[in-house]
Amino acid sequence: MFVRFSIIAAIALLASGCASNPPTLGSKNTSYGDTKAVETITNEFSSTDLQIIAESMTRSLAQSGILRGRPVVQVYDVKNKTSEYIDTREITTTIKTQLMKSGTARFSSDNTDMQSQVDQIKLQNQSGLYKKATVSKIGNMIAAKYRLEGSISSIVKRSSEYKDVFYKFSLQLIDVESGLAEWMDEKEIRKTTEH
C-alpha cells in the first residue's frame, strides 16, 4: 500500500515538474511593488504624501479625546489651494476610513453623497414600490455633531538647480451647533529635487 502510494506521489511530482516557476504572466519589466514605500520619483504630490497626511491627521484626532462617545461627523472635501491637480477626495476618503477603523467616530453622508441618500429615501417612501415594513422611514437620519474640513496649500520654488515644494495640510473639526473649532492640526511636508 505504502509503495503504491509513493509511486503515485513520485509520478505526480514528475508530471507537475519541480514547481519553481512563479505564477506570473507577462513582461519582467512590470512588477507589483510595496504600496507603503517612500515614493520619490518626482517631487509632485505623491502616494507617500497622501498616506503620511492621512495617518498623522487621523491619529492626532483620534487620540485628542474630542471624539469621546463616537460622535457623528460629516466630512467635507479638502480644498485644494495648490497649483497642481490633487484628488483631494482621496485624502478625505483615507482619513474617513482610518477614523472609522480606529472606532472613534461615526459618519453621516458626506456632502457629495448626500444627494444619493436623499434620492434613495425619497424613492423608498414616495414611489410605492416597496413593502411597507422594509421601507426606511423619513425623519430618522442622524445629524452630524461635528463637521471635518481641511485644506492643502503649497509653496513652490524653482531655480536652475533646485525645485522645492512645501505642502501644508490643515484639518479642523468644527462643532456644528456652536460653530467653534474644537480641534485642529497641521502637517507640513518639504520635498526638494536637485537637477
Partner: protein, 116 residues
C-alpha cells in the same frame, strides 16, 4: 502592601515607562550612524503613544526610513502596515520621533528602521 504595589504599577502606567529600546527595534540591515537612545511609552486617551530619541553619530546629515508596527497582546498586527517615512537628521543631532497607535487595541509595538 498589596495596595502599595498596585499604586506603584498605576503610577508607572500614568508616568509612562521607559522601555528597553533594543527589544522594540527591528533594524532592516545594520544601522549606519543612527542610534536609538530611549523610548517612552504612554497611553493617552486609550491610544499608545511612543516617543523615541534618536541621534546621528556622524557629523554629516543623514536620512533614515522608519515605521511602526502595532501589535495585539499575542504579538500580531492590529492594523494595516504603516507607510514608510523618511526623516533627515543633521550631523550630531539628537531628535525625537513620535508615533500614535491607530487603534486602542494596540498594546505593543515594533519600530522598523532602515538606513540607506
Amino acid at each position: 502592601m498589596r495596595f502599595k504595589l498596585i499604586a506603584v504599577v498605576i503610577l508607572a502606567l500614568l508616568a509612562g515607562c521607559a522601555t528597553t529600546a533594543a527589544s522594540k527595534v527591528v533594524a532592516l540591515g545594520k544601522l549606519r550612524d543612527i542610534e536609538i537612545d530611549a523610548m517612552r511609552v504612554a497611553r493617552e486617551n486609550g491610544f499608545i503613544t511612543v516617543n523615541t530619541q534618536l541621534s546621528n553619530t556622524s557629523s554629516n546629515n543623514k536620512t533614515f526610513y522608519y515605521r511602526f508596527a502595532w501589535l495585539d497582546p499575542d504579538g500580531f498586527p492590529v492594523a494595516e502596515e504603516e507607510t514608510w517615512k523618511s526623516q533627515m537628521m543633521y550631523g550630531e543631532q539628537t531628535r525625537f520621533i513620535q508615533a500614535i497607535a491607530p487603534t486602542p487595541k494596540a498594546v505593543d509595538f515594533r519600530l522598523e528602521i532602515n538606513t540607506p
